[in-house]
Amino acid sequence: MKDIREDIAWAKINQDVLKSLENPRKLYWVILFVALAMLGVAVGCEVYQYNVGMGVANMDNPHMWGLYIATFIFWIGMSHSGTLLSAILHLMHADWRKPIYRFAEAMTTFSLMTAGLFVAVHLGRVWQIYYALPYPNERGAWPNFQSPLLWDAMAIFTYLSSSIIFLYVGMIPDLAICRDRIHEGWRKKLYTLLSLGWEGTDRQWRNFRVTYLTVACFLIPLAVSVHSIVASDFGMSQQPGWHITSFPPYFVAGALYSGCAAIITLFIILRYVFKFEEYMTLPILKKIVRLTFAIAMVWTYLNAVEFASVWYSHDQASKDVLIQKASGTYAPFWWAMIFCGSIVPLALAFKRFQTNIPVLFAVSLLLNLGMWLERWMIVAPTFSHGIYPWTWDHDQWPSFVQWGMVFGSFGWFTLLFMVFCKVFPSVSMYEVKEMVYHRSKETKKQEETGKFAAAGKGAH
């Protein structure tokens, strides 16, 4: 089965994608409303925490990070899928990515925006966030350049700004299509402004191609560095359960994993809501599913490496944390993480599930639940069973404020994402045209070769 029909007219591609900017199914509005309500919960919790103080989040010593930092890592991880689909697969000339990379890039951008919010929320005194900026000041307070937390801030800023630029540059030819096809209103003005006068001249395409490739080349090491640095927040400390050499690759694998799972979820939603059945096809979904399965196995392997290296090390404190995870207060969540992250993806190995939309939707949600639990299980157990005995058995259950913020962050992300998909084309029109063009050309060539071979020409 082909990834995409090769006889779709280019005009129809424009028409179908532009229709998504105007007439989504009713489910779109339901999702938007639910997302807004979820965001409302988070705003309420933040206002409460802002007025009363961090105590309402149930933060205490040693539990200073809680769900905020766990969810921060989760959203950073989610952002890696856009880079994977856009940049890595672009360099590998995997053209099946073309109908779906745009929304994956948008996902990257909005995940990073969501993650960034958690840093501010976690600080408590958000009005003093500028203390983190390195500039000479009369307080004599300087950020510590040797701290991975500062590297984190720099890496995330770089990743966010580069991702926005990558998303925007890749969208310029499509914005020109929108400008040409939409005849009035604020949209026309917006597209005219953002398309920068793009005309599709040979000079523009030539420079566009090189720039897109260049930025893609930058984004790959950047994405790896971002999650390696997030891993350093933990790995460079002396805390048991965190001071592990394999943490950076483990974090990167986990990031790609949760990102791919989220792509499956959003693929299914967008396919239905915007009637993209012809572009977001089942063969493409199958390819993402296989990719997700492969990454799930890498993640499982790295998990096993982590457990084994802790178990066979002579570091009793780390070993105790591992035992605590598997049998202490957090055990149900830890085992749920193993189940969702390592057992559930085995379903993806079966052909009949690889294109079964209801099953894939459920599996993708479970995978992401597993990945969120993974981040929580990295953060919380170490705090409740650290090196010092006073931390032992100091379990913490997050308050409703923390849960509310986590819940609301999904609303914030969904809101941004769905608004984006309604305002900007979530399927890249010019790249789908390229895909159709090159594939039909290839097929014609193959048919001609087949004819020659059948006629006995060229066989000798």
Partner: protein, 176 residues
């Protein structure tokens, strides 16, 4: 002598290629194929480069400059701040520690590279710019446009070539 701009639209790349080849092989007074010909297309098409001939892309130089500038700026800003040891007490540790500074330098290297590459793209591609008056919205849909600028005297010969290759539409206007 006055100038004339012509835009011919074609339904596929083969026809557009044939036109460009004929324009290259025909000597037309008042028209320089290397300077006065622009091909507009709805997709990035490597063959266009093939039949237009190699034209240099200079974005890479911006990339090189941007990434080096970003990296150096990052390293010296951080080291400069650290060297202000009256403000930052080091307690005997190196004033400018290279391994941690490398991480931030690396991020700034990428940031500079990305930002300046995009700036380079805008400069090299002539963006943002005003659309030329001879623009057809069909070019962003499914047609290939060939825009030529020539002296008035050459316009008829060019038009004849466009018609010969079955242009879907020919637009014309007086140039400046």
């Amino acid at each position: 002598m006055g100038q004339r701009h012509l835009l011919a639209l074609y339904s596929n790349f083969d026809e557009a290629e044939a036109v460009v080849k004929e324009l290259r092989n025909t000597e037309i007074k008042g028209f320089d194929v290397n300077r006065d010909l622009i091909v507009k297309s709805p997709i990035e098409h490597p063959e266009v480069e093939g039949f237009l001939g190699n034209k240099p892309v200079r974005v890479q130089w911006f990339t090189l400059g941007g990434s080096l500038m970003g990296g150096l700026l990052g390293f010296f800003l951080i080291s400069g701040a650290q060297a202000n040891f009256y403000a930052q007490f080091k307690g005997g540790k190196p004033i400018v520690p290279f391994p941690p500074n490398f991480v931030l330098t690396y991020e700034m290297f990428i940031l500079g590279g990305v930002f300046i590459s995009v700036l380079g793209f805008l400069i090299c591609a002539g963006l943002p710019g005003r659309r030329s008056p001879l623009y057809s919205a069909n070019v962003s849909e499914d047609q290939i446009g060939i825009l030529v600028k020539s002296d008035d005297s050459a316009a008829n010969a060019l038009k004849a070539i466009f018609v010969k290759h079955q242009a879907l539409e020919i637009q014309e206007e007086a140039g400046k």
